[in-house]
Symmetry: C2
Subunit: 231 residues, 2 copies
DNA sequence: TGGACTAGAATGATCTGACAAATTGGCTGG
DNA sequence: CCAGCCAATTTGTCAGATCATTCTAGTCCA
């Protein structure tokens, strides 16, 4: 008989597990508030220090946020992509992964998603993309706002694929690359070229031509990479 | 003049940031130990409670682990894929993403990586894959061990693509699916079929035939999906 | 000699109680 | 009516003590 080494759980971890399952199981919905620390301490039978260590864990997971004062307290949140992106970013930094690898990943992921999206996009989604395009046109003179809208458009295209896993993956690499793009900056000409590329991509989606959409996305991404790597 | 709402950082977050940057910047390498809490408290000028909240954050990020006793203490770790997988899993659970979406993501990611891998695999990697195949043969009678080796083989194939981002993505969906596979279990016949598929995939890699490798991976994954969805 | 046992030290884990800081809502005096 | 101040609530931080775990070294006995 083989026994694995027995792991002694900490009280703070057990508390974190208990509260996390309340959230994941939907007992407390996002937006709702947990009882104040004072009450939790009595209900859980641990000290405040232990409870607070558990809260920091949940906060690191993006499940809660805390505010001081009356009307403050512990609010349950739905974690966004931030944590996923953060985990990825940490891993890549520690492995000293070159930026070109991130670019390549996006260059492979997005065309694939666009291909799927061309088949699956609903009419409403296409109209939404048209509105996003309009947003990009309006923000053409503000680099930061433009980069933000561009990412939103990309994600809108990817959302048409109706696959949340791929959407989250693409979003996390997209966020990393957008951060860099904002640093480097885009000239007005580059922004205009990007806008035209977006128009072409939406056109391909409207035609339900997946391979055309994929090709256009890839070309656009290659152009962006050329800009990012010019220095 | 517009001022964004001023955010008051907590001491525990500042401490976590400071320690994290020590790790990310390589001042303390993985495997090294941080000073004991007692010393950190005096060096950082915060209370022990605050320091410990910071440590729980870093632990949640997979950057450290703590042990009690002499020779215990705070060890710096390189975070593995666990955090990424965990973040993804949380997000998917809260969005009530169906399992089929995860399967689809893998079915799209792995063939793409295999295609790349066929072009880029080194001789050493091919030999490593051959050894993994041997491991699978030896574990053919132990379902859990077999599933583990199968995931290792898959990841070995993906590693040939030499893209860490895609490797991490594929690994995280792979871990989610493997967990399910272990629950469902595989019959001996299914394991033998899987083994033969792996042999075929390695064969395609050896021939440097990317599209063949992609097709074989996809067929294999479709077979696995059929097993997982049979109930 | 050698092995088992024990006492002590190092270290993290938890608890307790207190005070500080932030924020809201109501009160009060003009 | 309103501006400003005060009190209450809640989280944030601190200091100190005690408990639990685990390694080391020494001791005792066969």
């Amino acid at each position: 008989m083989r026994l694995s080494t027995l792991k002694v759980p900490r009280a703070s971890e057990l508390v974190a597990d208990k509260l996390r399952s309340l959230i994941v199981d939907g007992v407390v919905q996002a937006g709702a508030m947990l009882p104040p620390e004072k009450n939790l301490v009595t209900q859980l039978g641990v000290s405040r220090a232990t409870l607070r260590e558990a809260l920091r864990i949940l906060e690191a997971e993006g499940l809660i946020l805390t505010k001081t004062g009356p009307r403050g307290g512990i609010t349950v949140q739905r974690p966004g992509s931030a944590n996923l992106t953060r985990s990825l970013s940490l891993l890549l930094q520690l492995q000293e992964t070159p930026f070109s690898t991130i670019l390549e990943a996006r260059r492979l992921l997005e065309p694939m998603c666009a291909n799927l999206g061309a088949e699956r996009a609903t009419q409403a989604e296409l109209e939404q993309l048209e509105r996003m395009l309009q947003q990009m046109r309006e923000q053409l003179n503000d680099t930061n706002a433009y980069v933000r809208e561009q990412l939103a458009f990309h994600m809108g295209v990817i959302a048409c694929a109706h696959n949340d896993v791929l959407r989250l993956y693409t979003l996390s690499v997209g966020e990393l690359i957008s951060a860099r793009t904002t640093q480097v900056g885009l000239s007005l000409e580059e922004r205009e070229i990007g806008l035209r590329a977006a128009e072409q991509i939406l056109d391909a989606l409207r035609k339900r031509n997946g391979s055309l959409a994929a090709r256009r996305v890839e070309l656009h991404l290659l152009a962006v990479e050329a800009i990012l790597e010019k220095d």
